[in-house]
């Protein structure tokens, strides 16, 4: 039965269900016992105790490294990095340890681990609390990369990530925590499957995370001008849903990829290149300029990808 939930409440409910179903699932990170700084762990420590919902020291390297040790020895940890920017203090543990363990030891172990790294521009948080680094993680063999855009997907994809035997870079968007929508807790969303948010004939717009919402707005504005844009929420960046994207782009003949991350060397380039190589259609990308995110609203806005900018890009691609 569908319930209206916020993005934060949906994911807390999903984690609670996973913990009820499987004693091996534990959560750890800074301040998770008090519900997490965004409320995404609310109620969990009361239900499961401090042994399974573990408040940790501010030791990002050891939060992830310890989770690798837990995962190798029979647990299925979900770790909280608070913001993706802090995960850079644990980049050895994510890239050299979690992602490489299975391969370099010849498959002796598995690292079923979910690393939650809230991403994106949020509330004038400036250069060290606002980044979108999904392309970094997509570049690393061994990792799965997920970026949910809706309460429903945050519920279903966290469940899928916990069930996965691989380390998963799980990137929630910090400006989506309060977004409400209907959630069916029973809905299953497999990793690697995109969602067509809006069907259209003229252009394929591929995006993920919070940019999905700006893209839908832009598509609606384009519709008013007679442009029929198909919007695809990728949901999983690795493995990304190549089939859905290629099928759509083959129909529409044009591809635009939009993301909040810096455009240069962004994951949009990967998708655009793949589609151009496979289909020879016109492609374009739109991401943030290669600037750090500034504090003042006037600066912060320069790093945002607005519906108006997306609309401009749609127009130029259809011109």
């Amino acid at each position: 039965m569908a319930l209206v939930m916020t993005y934060a409440a949906a994911v807390a409910d999903s984690l609670a269900r996973a913990m009820r179903a499987d004693a091996r699932v534990v959560a750890l990170g800074e301040d998770v016992g008090r519900g997490g700084i965004f409320g995404q762990y609310r109620g969990l420590q009361a239900e499961f105790g401090a042994r399974r919902v573990i408040d940790t020291p501010i030791s990002e390297a050891t939060i992830v490294g310890a989770a690798v040790g837990m995962a190798l020895t029979g647990l299925r940890p979900v770790v909280e990095m608070r913001v993706v920017d802090f995960a850079l203090c644990a980049i050895d543990e994510i890239v050299n340890q979690a992602a490489k363990n299975r391969y370099m030891f010849g498959g002796q172990g598995r690292v079923p681990l979910v690393i939650r790294m809230p991403s994106g521009i949020w509330s004038a948080s400036a250069a060290q609390h606002s980044q979108s680094l999904e392309a970094w993680f997509a570049h690393v063999p061994g990792l799965v990369v997920v970026a949910p855009a809706t309460p429903q997907d945050n519920h279903a994809l966290l469940a899928a990530a916990i069930a996965c035997d691989d380390p998963v870079a799980y990137l929630e968007h910090k400006e989506l925590w309060g977004e409400s929508a209907e959630v069916d807790p029973a809905e299953h969303v497999p990793l690697g499957r995109a969602r067509v948010c809006r069907a259209g004939r003229d252009l394929t717009l591929v995006t993920w995370s919070k940019a999905v919402h700006a893209a839908i707005k832009a598509a609606e504005q384009a519709a008013a001008k007679g442009r029929d844009v198909e919007v695809i929420d990728l949901r999983t960046l690795w493995p990304w849903d190549r089939e859905t994207v290629l099928a759509s782009a083959a129909r529409t003949g044009r591809l635009l990829v939009v993301h909040e991350a810096v455009e240069v060397a962004g994951f949009g380039a990967e998708i655009a290149a793949t589609v151009a190589e496979a289909l020879g259609v016109r492609v374009a990308r739109l991401g943030a300029p290669r600037i750090p995110v500034g504090y003042a609203s006037s600066l912060e806005d320069e790093a945002r990808v607005s519906p108006a900018a997306i609309l401009d890009k749609i127009e130029s691609l259809l011109a």
């Binding site: 030791s59 040790g69 837990m70 190798l72 190549r242």
Partner: protein, 351 residues
């Protein structure tokens, strides 16, 4: 042990000799393994001013030898059970053998063979044998520490009874994960034995010149962790200190810390001639070689030259068989580069 004659004294004496014989045998196996690996690595890597040989070496890539440090691996691991966990460093052959790893599979790994303990994917620097609780050597200094602490946290959460031995070097105590891991283990009261295998060198730099304060044990005590410093070239001393510390860890009294002071006889990697080192320092170290000391102690306990020779011959013969196996084994199949990476998205290596 002056009272060798008579009932209880004699049995203590026999027990000591049996224990030391076993420790010595482990050290001999480690030494033989690393001597053979070193031989097979000659000309393998062009670093430290060395030239790569025209014919590729059988053991390629960095080979970090623990020659002269065997007493730490042997003395610590003699107090571990098969189900206990262990994390190691980039210098991990000794820890793996002492924990029960199979030298035949290990040597195959160094040779890049399909039958290696990691299927040829890891080599020396990532030697591992999960089947005996050895959760891996690590190419990153101190990186095994958080993993060890996590394995111990897992034991604690699951209500299991294993303990975790966490090996690291003196260089590791200057990395952040060292402090984080000690703090974490103490705060969560975890069953970990930290073992600082202090060989006094951080790659090509003497660690002492770059380390503030009173050293590894003092740093452990600053976290409230009981620590012991021991002569790491005296295998009986390592064994005895570990026995005490492990008893406390097994009894649920939280983490303990062993600082074993030893000496790195070889260069940083096998092809490093360590030309930066005062030769007198090496000469002095040779006189305190842990195998020599164990051998002398065994002789004083009555072991004959023939018995000691037999132990050495057994180790050499076991390792010769491991080398022969590795020489003749099939290399890792190229196609295995695409396996054991990930389930989700596995099989898809390009966009």
């Amino acid at each position: 042990m002056g009272e060798a004659a008579g009932g209880e004294g004699a049995s203590r004496y026999d027990a000591r000799r049996a224990r030391l014989t076993a420790l010595y045998a482990t050290m001999l196996r480690i030494r033989a393994f690393e001597d053979a690996a070193e031989e097979a690595s000659r000309g393998g890597v062009a670093v430290f001013g060395q030239q790569a040989a025209a014919k590729p070496a059988a053991v390629r890539g960095p080979l970090h030898l623990s020659t002269g440090q065997e007493a730490v691996a042997a003395g610590v691991c003699a107090n571990l059970r098969r189900a206990d966990y262990l994390t190691s460093t980039h210098r991990g052959h000794g820890h793996t053998i002492a924990k029960g790893g199979d030298p035949g599979r290990m040597m195959q790994e160094l040779y890049g063979r399909a039958g290696g303990s990691c299927g040829g994917r890891g080599g020396s620097m990532h030697i591992a044998d999960f089947g005996v609780g050895m959760l891996g050597a690590n190419g990153v200094v101190a990186a095994g520490m958080p993993i060890a602490v996590g394995a111990a946290h897992s034991v604690s959460i699951r209500g299991a009874t294993e303990i975790v031995a966490c090996f690291f070097g003196d260089g590791a105590i200057n990395r952040g994960p060292f402090a984080e891991s000690l703090n974490w283990a103490q705060v969560f009261h975890l069953p970990v034995l930290f073992v600082c295998e202090d060989n006094r060198w951080s790659a090509t730099t003497p660690t002492g010149s770059l380390t503030a304060g009173e050293g590894a044990a003092a740093r452990a005590r600053a976290h409230g962790i009981e620590a012991r410093t021991v002569d790491g070239n005296d295998v009986e001393a390592v064994d005895a200190a570990t026995a005490d510390l492990v008893a406390a860890v097994r009894a649920g009294r939280g983490p303990r810390f062993l600082h074993a002071i030893t000496y790195r006889v070889k260069g940083h990697v096998s092809v490093d001639p360590a030309a930066y080192r005062d030769p007198a320092e090496l000469e002095a170290a040779r006189t305190t070689d842990p195998l020599l000391r164990a051998r002398t102690a065994l002789a004083s306990l009555g072991a004959s030259a023939a018995e000691l020779e037999e132990l050495d011959a057994a180790a050499r013969s076991e390792i010769a068989a491991a080398v022969a196996l590795a020489e003749s084994a099939a290399p890792a199949a190229a196609g295995s580069a695409y396996t054991e990476i990930q389930d989700c998205g596995g099989g898809r290596w390009r966009s």
